[in-house]
């Protein structure tokens, strides 16, 4: 399942803040076309890790390479999607999707054409000229996904993108994401605290420890692709979720106690 070329290489990455270490000596790779999830207790540094890879915040030490190039700042080949509401309320769906292309100076016609393709891909046909205030939470996240994907990033980072949505919408959007990923072969690094979601979507789940965040273990998810959400009924699914929870439980309790201090 792992193809030869790594898109993302992280080695010995550390991030320190005054008084605390968020991430300590973390290393892993993400290969082309892979869907890798990071799961860990609250405060374990998984969002920090993602923002370092995106070039939004600086690292303290270690290396981060995208296709062999060191990450220093935000990069055209890295897209990121946040958990919080991130699409601009003053722009229509199409205008939001075009935002990145517009910033990079792409011509109006070309932008519109690419945005139209994205609309079809994420299933928002008919909502091109609506404003975010007229869309549901799930639709708004689809716009955010389209906005990132239209830039054709080598690597797509997703920071708990469905965390604010209800369970059913989450599962449906997870299916949609799988479909999109399989259709365009997108490489994805996905942060979540939802074990079911990690097992449903990923090829590999990286489990992080409580702060300071390190890699505790990696679990391979060997369901075949193309997948649907029907796998959640299988015995293997439950077993994998259980396996990950056993790894996670100890760290979650630690994180819980740290939080109480």
């Amino acid at each position: 399942m792992r193809s030869a070329s790594p898109i993302l290489e992280i080695s010995n990455l550390s991030k320190e803040y005054p008084g605390t270490t968020a991430i300590e000596n973390t290393s892993f790779d993400v290969c082309s076309h892979e869907f890798v999830s990071i799961i860990g207790p609250s405060g374990c540094g998984k969002s920090t890790l993602l923002e370092i890879v995106a070039g939004l915040i600086p690292k303290t030490s270690g290396d981060v390479f995208i296709k062999g190039q060191a990450v220093r700042n935000t990069h055209a080949s890295i897209g990121i999607i946040f958990q919080e509401e991130s699409i601009f309320p003053w722009r229509t769906t199409l205008e939001n999707i075009e935002f990145g292309l517009q910033m990079r100076g792409v011509s109006k016609n070309k932008r519109r054409k690419k945005a139209d393709e994205m609309i079809e891909l994420v299933g928002l046909h008919g909502f091109e000229n609506r404003y975010p205030g007229e869309l549901s939470g799930g639709m708004r996240q689809r716009v955010a996904i389209a906005r990132a994907l239209v830039m054709e990033p080598e690597l797509l980072l997703m920071d708990e993108p469905f965390g604010a949505l209800d369970e059913q919408t989450r599962i449906i959007l997870g299916e949609e994401l799988l479909r999109i990923q399989q259709e365009i072969g997108q490489t994805i690094l996905f942060v979540t605290h939802n074990i079911n979601e990690a097992v449903q979507l990923s090829d590999r789940v990286v489990v992080m420890t409580a702060r300071p965040g390190k890699i505790k273990a990696t679990v391979d998810i060997d369901f075949e692709r193309p997948r649907t959400s029907e796998i959640i009924a299988s015995e293997k699914f439950g077993r994998l979720v259980g396996q990950i929870w056993m790894l996670l439980r100890e760290e979650s309790l630690k994180g819980f106690k740290l939080g109480k201090q």
Binding site: L56, S86, W90, F99, G100, M103, Y131, G133
Partner: protein, 251 residues
């Protein structure tokens, strides 16, 4: 009687009721003769002021003073507001005095303006400018300081330059709060100009109100007050219509 018309009917009913009470008090001997003239007399005086064109030069003077003052208030208010919003240190220094002074009646500055600018329209412009400055600077500073951090991250992540981030993210984010500040600012600029006219002036809406009072032409005084109120209400309505159009900037 459906949902739309019922509040309207109650409002009309309240106005009619008030007018009735007014007439009753006026006709009774409760108050000094002439303080509460009949509504018919007031309406007649108002009609005369409008149809003879008497009120329009004065209306224009007030509009000129308030607009020019507001223009200054807008320019300085937005500029200072942006600076304060962007720099937390500056904000810490200047925000408390600005807030305290915002709550102080600006009329106390009027004698200073009279000394510097004289009794003509510049002193009223200064009143309008000082009055309008505060709602604008406060709203702008709050808007600038509270731009959604996620939006900034999004802009950075797609490679937007600082200039692009300012024009495409900061400015649209701040538009609605700044407009709300402008709406308040227009209102208090108008008040500032009229206050100045009430005290020392030779033209404007405030002037004709106080002049009618001085000559004890009470129906004319009420008429001018009503016409001023009507004008201010129209300005407010116009601003509301503009703000409704800007709904999509709300977050």
């Amino acid at each position: 009687m459906n949902r739309m018309t019922r509040p309207l009917l109650v409002q009309i009913g309240t106005v009619l009721f008030f007018m009735l009470i007014w007439e009753v008090i006026g006709k009774s001997k409760l108050l000094f003769e002439g303080i509460v003239p009949s509504i018919f007399e007031i309406m007649k005086a108002a009609w005369i002021q409008v149809s003879t064109g008497f009120i329009f030069p004065h209306l224009l003077v007030t509009v000129y003073e308030a607009s020019a003052g507001f223009a200054f208030a807008l320019f300085f208010g937005v500029t200072v507001g942006l600076l304060l919003g962007a720099d937390p240190f500056l904000r810490k220094i200047f925000e408390p005095p600005i807030l305290y002074f915002a709550a102080t009646p600006k009329i106390i500055l009027y004698p200073i303006f009279l000394m510097i600018f004289g009794a003509k329209f510049e002193s009223k412009m200064a009143m309008a400018a000082v009055s309008g400055f505060f709602p604008i600077v406060i709203n702008t500073a709050i808007a600038a300081a509270n731009v959604n951090r996620i939006f900034i991250k999004v802009a950075k992540s797609v490679g937007a330059s600082n200039f692009q981030t300012f024009t495409r993210v900061y400015m649209p984010s701040m538009l609605l709060p700044i407009f709300t500040g402008m709406r308040l600012g227009i209102g208090v600029s108008l008040v500032g100009a009229i206050l100045g006219e009430l005290k020392v002036s030779n033209a404007g809406l405030g002037f004709i109100i106080i002049q009618a009072f001085n000559y004890f032409r009470i129906p004319e005084m009420y008429a001018s007050i009503l016409l001023t109120f009507f004008f201010a209400a129209m300005v407010n309505l116009a601003m509301t219509l503009v703000l409704v159009r800007m709904r999509r900037f709300a977050q």
